[in-house]
Amino acid sequence: MRKSLALFLILAMLAPVAVLAAGCSGGSNEILIGNIQDLSGPNKAFGLAMTNAAEMYKEKLNAAGGINGKKVRIISYDTKSEVQEAINAYQRLVDQDKVLAVLGPPIANMGIALAPIAEGKKVPIVGLFMDEKATTNSKTGKPYTYMFLGQNSSGAQARAIAAYAINDLKLKKFAILYNQQNAYSVSLAEPFIAYVTANGGTIVDKETFMTADKDYKAQLTKIRQAKPEAIYMPNYPQEIPLTLQQAYDLGIKATILGDNSYIPFATSSNTDPKASEGVYFPYGVDPSDAKLKQFSDEYLAKFGYAAIAQSYSGWDAFGALIEAIKRSYAASKKVTPDMVTTEMNKTKDFPGYQGSLTISPDTHRPVGLPMIILQMKGGKPTTLAKVIPPAEK
């Protein structure tokens, strides 16, 4: 009895090793791409959107023969929205799974944490971490070699809505309410303030809150007192319904400007349409674009829920990465993480859902990629304009 138990335990311990070995041996006829996403935490809506898009892309690619006869396989790890989990996942993908490249999370904090680690591990990460600190080394001002952004940066997004508010809506006096503990919110707030003050507008009040806070009426009451024409609220999903509803509760009539998370979190299933009425925000894709329809129908049929911005931009980021791998093969019949990195720098006019994606080798971020300005009407977003974000100065 004891012997058989011992044998069982030994086999049980060996099983993961065998699985691991099998995974690695697949390398010769498979191309392995890592995927680091929140699949069960508070931001799983974003993580699932990217993962689903990548899986859809992969299925089509493999059905058409893969790359040079090799099938692509995606290895996904769940971050549960914790930065440390993202770091662990990247190390495991590089050291154990030996992936060629990684599709990164749409989470700024994680991109910032991964950037210096990727410099050491030398496996490229293409993701949607919008904070510019995830692609630019703030000490040197140069781009991180292995980090690439597949959508407009938060700076570009903030400038797009600020420019629209000043030039098209003719607004001058702004207030701002954001989460000072969240890199995403801060990375939107700072360039917004910089753009407004450099272009003839004024910031009449700047209020912040903490991640654990749920009640923002103290801050909003101060904002109301400062009488802004518009309030910029670049916040995270969970905070969007609360900030909008509490502003409404206080009878605030100023124009509200939001960020690219307002779909779906400001729409009627989450936020009372009364509170979101008239809100303007920038978005990566045009929901009224007919080109998106086929993708969104297919996505809905496959996963049972609607595609969001990160599904489209996730598709674009993954597609740009696949194209870089294809170019490496075409040039030298083989591919390494460094070759993919070199080719990512040459990404030009990739036909994505956001528009034509070109990545600047100087910033590792897109150039000339448009943004759509939307407005909430009756709990639904309506398309107003397509803008090219003003360049950073």
């Binding site: 069960s40 935490g41 809506a45 209020e207 912040t208 101060k222």
Partner: protein
């Protein structure tokens, strides 16, 4: 809008009182268990969180309206709290375990109940279906949401019923006797197991009510029960175990929080609140209500 200085001050006090009303509902349920068993029952937060989800699904799947949802959530809270007492605390009490065991168990139960929610519903957030239209009452330049008014009314009704029940019903009188001295009450022939269970049930009703109201006014997420910390601070301020003290402490906490945020911003205000609490306890360890327990755990 032309906000004058005083209208802003009044608005901030209204904001603070409405926040304090939320804390009060948590604090009183929390204080009730302390009153009888003399330990800080953090599992109250777990009961609150699960009831909030029960209310959410009652509204979403059964399409119940506001009052039935409140009742379902409240009752769920009472039943869950009884379950917690039965599973987690009864055997410690039977073995006459030290107070620290109760305390540790209560924190463990909070985490356990939270994790149960994460397992079943994930860590993402939900928003309650709109049971009550977003409507605001405006008096002069001061606005208050109807939902907050509802919350204050619900708190007031709950406190009224609780005060009446503790004073005039047989179970209520027995709970008060037990809070004075559990062992003697037992010797007097009162069924202490039943009284403790009743205490948890009533405390759970309050947790359930506050859970649904919190879920409606904020969003729903597994960690919503951690707001019990605010109830704890409020009941310490009020004098642990005193129900009136807890309610007053909660209102004071809400107003102070809002005023501090408006004066010094959200980054600094939590640190200042905790510093104020330390100083307050140095000066007046018995809290507002003047009841002091040596057995604080």
């Amino acid at each position: 809008m032309g906000d004058s200085f005083w209208s802003v001050v009044v608005q901030q006090i209204v904001n603070g009182v409405s926040l304090g009303a939320v804390y009060a509902l948590i604090a009183v349920g929390f204080a009730l268990v302390f009153n009888v068993l003399k330990f800080s029952n953090f599992s109250h937060g777990g009961v609150l969180a699960i009831s909030a989800y029960v209310g959410y699904f009652a509204a979403l799947k059964l399409h119940l309206s506001l009052i039935p949802v409140l009742l379902v959530g409240t009752l769920a809270g009472g039943l869950i709290a009884c379950g917690v007492e039965f599973v987690a605390f009864r055997s410690i009490r039977k073995k006459r375990g030290q107070l620290v065991y109760f305390f540790v168990t209560s924190v463990t139960m909070l985490m356990l109940l939270e994790q149960v929610l994460v397992i079943f519903f994930g860590a993402s957030f939900f928003t309650y279906p709109r049971l009550i239209s977003l409507t605001t009452l405006t008096i002069g330049q001061v606005s208050i949401s109807v939902l907050y008014v509802l919350m204050m009314v619900a708190s007031a009704i709950a406190f009224g019923v609780l005060a009446w029940a503790l004073r005039f019903t047989r179970v209520g009188i027995a709970i008060r006797a037990a809070s004075n001295d559990l062992i003697t009450t037992n010797l007097m022939g009162v069924n202490v197991d039943f009284i403790v269970l009743a205490t948890f049930f009533v405390s759970g009703l309050l947790a359930g009510l506050s859970g649904v109201l919190l879920g409606m006014s904020y969003t729903l997420y597994p960690q919503i029960g951690q707001l019990v910390v605010k109830g704890f601070i409020a009941s310490v301020l009020g004098g642990l175990g005193s129900l009136v003290g807890a309610a007053l402490g909660a209102l004071a906490l809400g107003v102070v929080e809002v005023l501090l945020i408006s004066v010094m911003g959200s980054g600094l205000s939590p640190a200042v609140i905790f510093a104020m609490m330390v100083i307050f306890l140095l000066v007046r360890p018995q809290g507002f209500a003047g009841v002091s327990f040596q057995e604080k755990a």
